[in-house]
């Protein structure tokens, strides 16, 4: 039987395992929306297309599935660009479906026409314009395959209106054939042997986990290796949760706002196993001083990550989990060659001394400290929550003071640093896990970038908790202005802000305000216990800074401390 493009699209989505679709209708996609009610796919109507992409992203990060969103042509499509770039920077599997003007009009500057394939070429893993309905099923199959395989990433499919209306025989392609795309999953055995050899020789080894560990579900292998071989562990922001934050071998995140122990360890280690990390400038500090005494073993599925920023002694291209499992297998046969615990004992004593010397801390006074808010939330939830963040100080304090113990419990825009990410991502995460507590740690600046999604959360009865660390500033920029620009607080003071409690109530959510430290815990408990969407406006110390801080261009161990 011949089906139209819209129907074929939805049949394909179902076969790819899609049950939630975040979207916003428009002229170019009406045919798809017309077909939608006849399919067992839940459509979540957002209030801005950027939020549809972040929600799909949040669902993908929390669940590991491919997130999907659907928007119309022109402005609908351009509004997705920030979300796509966010997902691309953090390698998140996603398929973005955009409407397009009918094929005969393409290139004519038609109403609501943009070349979205051209616009998103540098921020998608791949993208397609479907010009013939007979290509539709194959293209969608490829799009999902590309999004989730290899180094995952967003794939955009542009769907002209007439292609959605045109009919053809629907054939579901069982296989995906792409001769030019063959990601390397299985690492080279010889390189793995060399890695084990290096670990046998090391006196001060260190594991350094990135988002790739989370993505490839390699936490168990990492944990086994760290514990069996007595090797301490640090991570990037994206790697938080890949290794339990309460394990004695855990040193905390490294980088610009990393821990003292983590940053010291990187620059004093003699062997670093970097797993699924890409050595972003926020992580390495001044490159010439980064890990200068260490042999670097770099495991990554993307060959371009290797030797892009940092010299590598033993490159391993492959899936992180397969690579760590391979190292485990080889190491198991050679465990007896080294008394690992004894050999690393002085090193473990050293990193532990750094940890005691300069733990993550802050000065308590009569006001509410943002770090204290994060700690209180951790103690109330016992860490059993999915936490999303916005970007800036709220993000760093969450990374520092919430103890992440499991992968996929922190959803944060690491690479692109997108303000406005956290709340829509929380919506996506809540759809993936309806029974979990989902908390968006926000700042008063970031939350206003996608606050319109309160309507989406309320009308879908999502019990998301938005905790605003409200300091009336764009705090991270203000911190830079304070430290490096002679306190010239140009355009970072945001005292003119809405009454967040009333705003929440206007949308039909619950609003709470906390100004007294004595009420912090009790009010948070009340809000978290509520079955409704809740906004908690916490008035925190206005000019609190995030420490430690490695100034831009400084070496990792040149930290400003509290």
């Amino acid at each position: 039987m011949e089906l139209n493009g819209a129907r074929i699209l939805l049949e394909c989505l179902k076969r790819e395992g899609v049950d939630v679709l975040f979207g916003y209708p428009g002229g170019a996609v009406i045919d798809i929306y017309d077909e939608l009610p006849r399919h067992d796919i839940r459509h979540v109507l957002v209030r801005h297309e950027q939020a549809a992409v972040h929600a799909a992203d949040g669902l993908a990060r929390a669940s590991g599935k491919v997130g999907v969103c659907l928007v119309t042509s022109g402005p609908g499509a351009t509004n997705t660009v920030t979300g796509i770039a966010t997902a691309y920077a953090d390698s998140i599997p996603m398929v973005v479906l955009t409407g397009q003007v009918p094929t005969p009009l393409i290139g004519n500057d038609a109403f609501q026409e943009v070349d979205i394939v051209g616009i998103t070429r540098p921020c998608t893993k791949h993208n397609y314009l479907v010009k013939d309905v007979r290509d539709l099923a194959r293209v969608l199959r490829q799009a999902f395959y590309l999004a989730r395989s290899g180094r995952p990433g967003p794939v955009l499919v542009d769907l002209p209106k007439d292609v959605m209306q045109a009919k053809t025989e629907f054939v579901w392609p069982e296989d995906v054939k792409l001769r030019s795309y063959n990601p390397t999953y299985r690492p080279n055995l010889n390189q793995l042997r060399r890695a084990v050899e290096a670990l046998l020789e090391a006196k001060r080894p260190l594991f350094f986990a990135g988002g790739g560990v989370v993505m490839s579900d390699a936490s168990e292998e990492l944990g086994w290796l760290a514990r069996t071989l007595s090797i301490p562990v640090t991570s990037t922001l994206m790697g938080l949760g890949a290794f339990p934050g309460d394990d004695p071998l855990w040193l905390g995140m490294i980088g610009m706002h990393g821990t003292y122990a983590g940053n010291k360890a990187v620059n004093n280690a003699d062997c670093i196993v970097a797993v699924g990390a890409r050595f972003d400038d926020r992580v390495t500090g001044r490159l010439s001083a980064f890990a200068s005494g260490a042999r670097i073993i770099h495991i990554d599925i993307d060959p371009t990550s290797i030797r892009k920023n940092v010299r590598v002694d033993i490159p391993v291209v492959g899936d992180c989990r397969k690579a760590l499992a391979g190292i485990r297998e080889i190491a198991t046969t050679r465990l007896a060659e080294k008394d690992w615990a004894t050999a690393h004992e002085p090193w473990l004593a050293q990193v532990s001394a750094w940890r005691t010397e300069q733990p993550l801390t802050y000065v308590k006074n009569g006001s509410i400290k943002p770090q204290q808010v994060v700690e209180t939330i951790f103690s109330i939830t016992k860490g059993d929550a999915i936490v999303t963040t916005e970007v800036g100080q709220n993000q760093m304090w969450t990374a520092q003071f919430f103890t992440f113990r499991k992968p996929r419990t922190l959803l944060t825009s690491g690479g692109l640093g997108t303000m406005g990410y956290g709340f829509p991502a929380a919506i996506g995460a809540q759809f993936a896990f309806p029974d979990k507590l989902v908390i968006d740690m926000a700042g008063d600046g970031s939350i206003q970038m996608n606050i319109q999604e309160l309507a989406t959360a309320v009308c879908n009865k999502l019990p998301i908790k938005i905790v605003i660390l409200n300091n009336g500033y764009l705090g991270m920029v203000r911190q830079w202005q304070e430290l490096f620009y002679q306190r010239n607080y140009c355009s970072t003071c945001m005292e003119a802000q809405p009454d967040f409690v009333k705003l929440a109530e206007a949308y039909g959510a619950e609003g709470y305000r906390i100004t007294d430290p004595g009420e912090l815990e009790s009010t948070l408990r009340t809000a978290f216990a509520s079955p409704n969407t809740a906004v908690i406006d916490v008035r925190v110390e206005r000019e609190e800074n995030v420490y430690p801080m490695v100034p831009a261009g400084a070496a990792l161990d040149e930290m400003l401390l509290v």
Binding site: V117, G118, R121, P122, K125, H126, L129, L146, L178, R179, S180, Y181, D302, P303, T304, R307, K308
Partner: protein, 163 residues
Amino acid sequence: MRHVLSVLVENEPGVLSRVAGLFSGRGFNIESLNVAPTLEEGVSLMTITTSGEEQIIEQIVKQLRKLVTVIKVVDFIDVSAVEREMMIVKVQADDARRAEVLRIADIFRCKVVDVSLNDLTLEATGDHGKVQAILSLLARFGIKEIARTGTVAMRRSMQPESV
């Protein structure tokens, strides 16, 4: 260091833009770029001349391979190859100079493809070095216009072992 890269691509709309965008977006340098179909339908060959330090070239090659529409990348620095580019050059050549220009053209086995009272148009082929040499020798006569192709290259066949 100058590198000639042979890049086999799926001949789809936008493939040139993907490759060009990769170079411009990452600040890589393109000296010349040549695209044409191959024997296989749907497959095109791009020959890209670029330059940079070893680590940059490594990134360029890896980034090209990462593009979904790129089938194969060969860096001719690693293999023995035949390399050619073609140039059409219009040189000032009045009666007094014509003989001298023709002599140079002859030495470099250029073809005369057009002639007028005041200029000669030559067609020259050769590797990058030869074309540069022709240009620099003709410069003193006054070059009015040039049009050059980018470099194209092909791996040499295996030679029998020398006795």
